[in-house]
Symmetry: C2
Subunit: 253 residues, 2 copies
DNA sequence: ACCTGAACACCGTTCAAGT
DNA sequence: ACCTGAACACCGTTCAAGT
């Protein structure tokens, strides 16, 4: 169907790395990870594979660029909820707490993964392939700046920021795709029915091997992904304040 | 080189799903994710592709099975450090705290990812593709059983266990592969030099955009992955006990 | 400097045919 | 029931050739 859709409509705009990455993200969003091929890309951009390879080294680099673009947009969000020191010095809104800032950044990443389900896998791949890339520092910095504003000794900045980033990525990665896979697996089925399916599957597990999972199976039914994600963030935040109190409690070995 | 290594040595053993998965894990360990192909697999098993497809539906299922096998072994570890109620009722060792149990399970997964770097990406892929698969319940159950032993109200079991699992997967995924990529990227370079490279790269970032990352760049130099991973686990554990105290503190909206 | 498009090596998967 | 292996469709990547 749609036999050879010629997309020569706007051959006007010159090809650029930016346009290629943009097309890649669109392709990933609409067709999934397996949908991003150089063939599909050339058709969409009305060009040949050689043209793409002029701007991008290979597919890995393209995936990294797509991931970075989406992450950059996600962590750069400075919503109304969080009032950072504004460029315009007038109207000094009451600055939000660093905790709220962290919640905001975390939710930004969470929502980004919901919008772009492929991000979960790509994030893991990117972070593991090159921690010195652009993706890691971007996320780390965004969280870290808020950690600095917390009451944490400088010697623990790295550990605390890392813990937060790790939780956010782990949770966003798993939680968020639930909603996506609910859509993907059964297009007509809504979220509630999807959760019912998972819940039922868990209740069907072996009672001897999976007592806990079975016990909480019904808690999954009504739960809200974002709410639970935030509850986890708060848990980590509570751990930070509990661990790094005013009085420097020496580690009692 | 090694022109057509015939592996007909032990054509004796019959092919089985188990042997295939085992070979797949070995291939992933030695040759990386891109090294696992049906061609390499058929050569290693001295068979044809059709034989493999008789036991395994497709590559995705094979990857899922390989992931599950490694995870099962990782969370099943019951080291001497943690004394669960033993099958043999004599010699009742002092039972370890649930916190220690959680640390043990977390470290087990951490170490598994260090030994099998491909696990980080696969875990993200597997968890996102099918939360109703075997991998998620396995990890969830292992952590959850220890959560139940903590002083947490039942209504929070699901949230608390999820938070722990998310941190562990996020942290293990990112942290662990650092050591692997250090080896992969520069075979002769040891870990200390690798950390130096990352640290130097972070120090070279834009001072305006990355003040925090630059500030902690030198903290990365001497840090121990496992130690930091455990510090994060303790942070979450501290948050759990701080949030769920004896006196049921009503949420003051 | 930027783009074209045929060509190549390789991959996952299928299937008629064997035992 | 289990295995063989040729064949197919498709993929990432290259490169001589154009402008």
């Amino acid at each position: 169907m749609a036999t050879r859709t010629r997309r020569s409509q706007r051959r006007t705009e010159a090809l650029s790395r930016e346009r290629i990455v943009e097309a890649a993200v669109e392709l990933l969003d609409t067709a999934g990870e397996s949908g991003l091929t150089f063939r599909a890309l050339t058709e969409r951009l009305a060009t040949g594979p050689g043209a793409i390879y002029w701007h991008v080294a290979n597919k890995d680099e393209l995936l990294a660029a797509a991931t970075d673009a989406v992450v950059a947009a996600a962590v750069a969000v400075r919503p109304a909820a969080e009032a950072l020191p504004t460029p315009s010095p007038e109207e000094p809104e009451p600055p939000a707490s660093p905790q709220d800032g962290i919640r905001t950044v975390a939710l930004g990443l969470f929502d980004a993964i919901v919008r772009h389900p492929w991000l979960a896998t790509q994030l893991a791949a990117q972070l593991s392939r090159s921690p010195w890339g652009t993706v890691t520092p971007r996320i780390f910095e965004s969280i870290g700046q808020r950690v600095r504003a917390l009451d944490v000794p400088e010697s623990s900045w790295f550990t605390v920021a890392s813990a937060l980033v790790h939780y956010v990525l782990g949770a966003a990665g798993q939680n968020a795709v639930n909603s996506a896979s609910a859509r993907a697996l059964a297009p007509g089925v809504d979220r509630a029915r999807f959760l019912d399916t998972v819940s039922a599957a868990w209740e069907g597990l072996d009672p001897d091997e999976y007592p806990f999972t079975r016990a909480v199976a019904d808690q999954i039914r009504g739960h809200d992904d974002r709410e639970q994600f935030l509850a986890g963030v708060d848990l980590v935040l509570a751990g930070i304040t509990a661990t790094h109190r005013r009085e420097p409690r020496p580690a009692q070995e």
